[in-house]
């Protein structure tokens, strides 16, 4: 992809709530939209592009239309690419291209949801059969956690990965979460705690799974012309890649995700190498999601994710590759069952030097934010963003 003009994330806002019974999902969208614009220092009427995906409480509504109307937006660019939880990484990538093409200058991307208040059986409920694939999968109890559990089992079989190694990922996330006053779970968790938590879908335990939380987040993507008028420190969008994974007509390899392709594309787009990355936000629906992303994105060889995550590799500020310093979806927040937005937001915080003091990576210059939405082992969408400090 030819990149001719720099594009920036100028505003980022994560809703502090984790449980919001007395509001609506649409209201949360509006609150995070206002928050991100306030962070950027932009007025609402500057917005000329808008992206969102799957408003779960309104599954039969036309997502971009109902939200653009509710928010009172008049836009020249709209995108509702639906990659599940990683949709928002795709939206930033698509928004960057729209801005470079001169279609628009200020793109607002919002996410909100309230599965906690609605007592949704996220990841463990058999849903209605909507697509043709569902009839060949859900009829067997395929739900979400099952797919990640089957990937973990096969990974263990092929590469000797252990439950202890997966648990080390949760341990590192919870270590970071203790410093996040908004995190849903702030108590540090040990490897033993994870192994002793009840099995959900063997070999995954309760503490291998992300939290269920209400909330949301938003970012504002802007052109160079707009950035020049702002006082706020911005973050450069250096590269983006996406890929869709599927069942491959019955030849699925459950130990590999579409992150291999989305990562290759993002690194090629940004023109940077893996060893230059100071911080990573990795989608963490389950511990295995993180381990496979580390391998597929090329931070370690396929099969070596288990040994890579042992010890303090992922712990900020001094680990080799600090990840999810807000506590991630595993400990802090997975608003609307969609972890992609918070991955972008924490990467922006790190590059601005605005992460929590105890976990701020020193001199963080380059960050990667990655989403794995949908379900590995069947259909999933990966979006990978590479972001850089404005003065890089």
């Amino acid at each position: 992809m030819a990149r001719t003009e720099p594009v920036y994330v100028a505003g980022a806002y994560e809703h502090p709530t984790r449980e919001a019974p007395d509001t609506s999902t649409m209201q949360l969208h509006a609150e995070v939209a206002a928050g991100a614009l306030r962070d950027a220092g932009l007025p609402k009427d500057a917005v000329d592009g808008y992206c969102t995906a799957g408003v779960p409480e309104y599954s039969y509504a036309k997502t971009p239309l109902v939200m653009a109307d509710y928010l009172g937006l008049d836009v020249a660019f709209a995108d509702s690419t639906e990659f599940g939880g990683s949709s928002y990484l795709a939206h930033v990538g698509h928004a960057a291209n729209a801005i470079r093409n001169g279609v628009c200058d200020v793109v607002l991307v919002t996410l909100a949801g309230r599965p906690r208040s609605r007592s949704q059986d996220t990841g463990t409920g058999v849903r209605e059969m909507i697509t043709v694939q569902d009839s060949f999968e859900r009829i067997y109890g395929e739900m979400g956690v099952t797919n990640y559990a089957m990937a973990a089992r096969r990974h263990m079989h092929e590469y000797g990965t252990t439950s202890e190694q997966l648990a080390a990922i949760r341990e590192a996330a919870s270590y970071h979460a203790q410093y996040n006053e908004h995190a849903l779970y702030r108590d540090p968790v040990t490897v033993e705690d994870v192994l002793e938590s009840r099995p959900i879908a063997d070999p995954l335990h309760l503490l291998d799974c992300c939290v269920i939380s209400d909330g949301g987040g938003a970012v504002v993507v802007v052109s160079e012309d707009v950035r020049e008028e702002l006082d706020r420190e911005c973050v450069s969008v250096l590269g983006y890649g996406e890929a869709i994974g599927g069942t491959r007509a019955g030849r699925v390899d459950v130990t590999e995700s579409a992150a291999r392709l989305s990562g290759e594309r993002a690194f090629a787009d940004a023109g940077v190498s893996r060893d230059e990355i100071d911080y990573v936000s990795l989608y963490d629906s389950f511990t295995i999601t993180v381990l496979m992303a580390l391998e597929d994105l090329g931070f370690c060889e396929k099969g070596e994710g288990g040994s890579f995550v042992e010890g303090d590799t992922l712990k900020a500020p001094d680990g080799e590759l600090p990840f999810n310093t807000d506590g991630g979806g595993l400990s802090s927040n997975h608003p609307g069952n969609r972890g992609g937005m918070t991955k972008i937001i924490e990467a922006v915080r790190q590059l601005r030097g605005e992460a929590n003091d105890e976990v701020q990576v020193e001199d963080a210059t380059l960050a990667l934010a990655h989403g794995t939405g949908g379900r590995i082992s069947t259909r999933h969408g990966c979006g990978t963003l590479i972001l850089g400090r404005e003065d890089r």
Binding site: T124, G141, E142, A149, M150, R153, H157, D202, R251
Partner: protein, 137 residues
């Protein structure tokens, strides 16, 4: 762990032949006369080359590629939990998502040989293929 009868899957003109064959105790796959791909789940056009596919009957044997013993699952009858959700790799090649039945979770492993069997649904023209261990004796 068997949950019979199962809910009826969504039967479409494209998949009716598959479900009906299952009700007769046969597991069908698609085979592409153009590129030779044998694939699952059923689709009218080959997902490799878009040629019009043919139906073939599987021997119904294969091995467990991966699996999970699922302990928490809402919308599934409690008396049938835990349930074993698995990918079985058929001897013809395709891996299909299914259940392993007739086995204790502790006795199941990757690579185990399995054979297709069918559970009824409330629709007599539709049955659901699942797999059971082939005794090693």
């Amino acid at each position: 762990m068997t949950w019979e009868p199962r809910p009826v899957p969504d039967v479409t003109p494209e998949t009716r032949r598959f479900w009906r064959a299952a009700a007769e105790g046969r597991l069908l796959l698609n085979d592409c006369p153009d590129c030779g791909l044998t694939y699952f789940h059923p689709r009218a056009l080959c997902p490799d080359c878009f040629a019009e596919a043919e139906w073939i009957e599987s021997d119904g044997t294969g091995e467990i590629y991966t699996y999970s013993v699922v302990h928490q699952i809402s919308g599934w009858p409690e008396e049938h939990v835990p349930v074993i959700v698995a990918y079985v790799e058929l001897d013809e090649g395709p891996r299909l998502l299914t259940n392993v039945v007739g086995a204790e979770p502790a006795d199941v492993g990757i690579g185990d040989r399995v054979r297709v069997t069918f559970v009824e649904t409330e629709n007599p023209d539709v049955a659901v293929p699942v797999f059971e261990p082939v005794s090693s004796a």
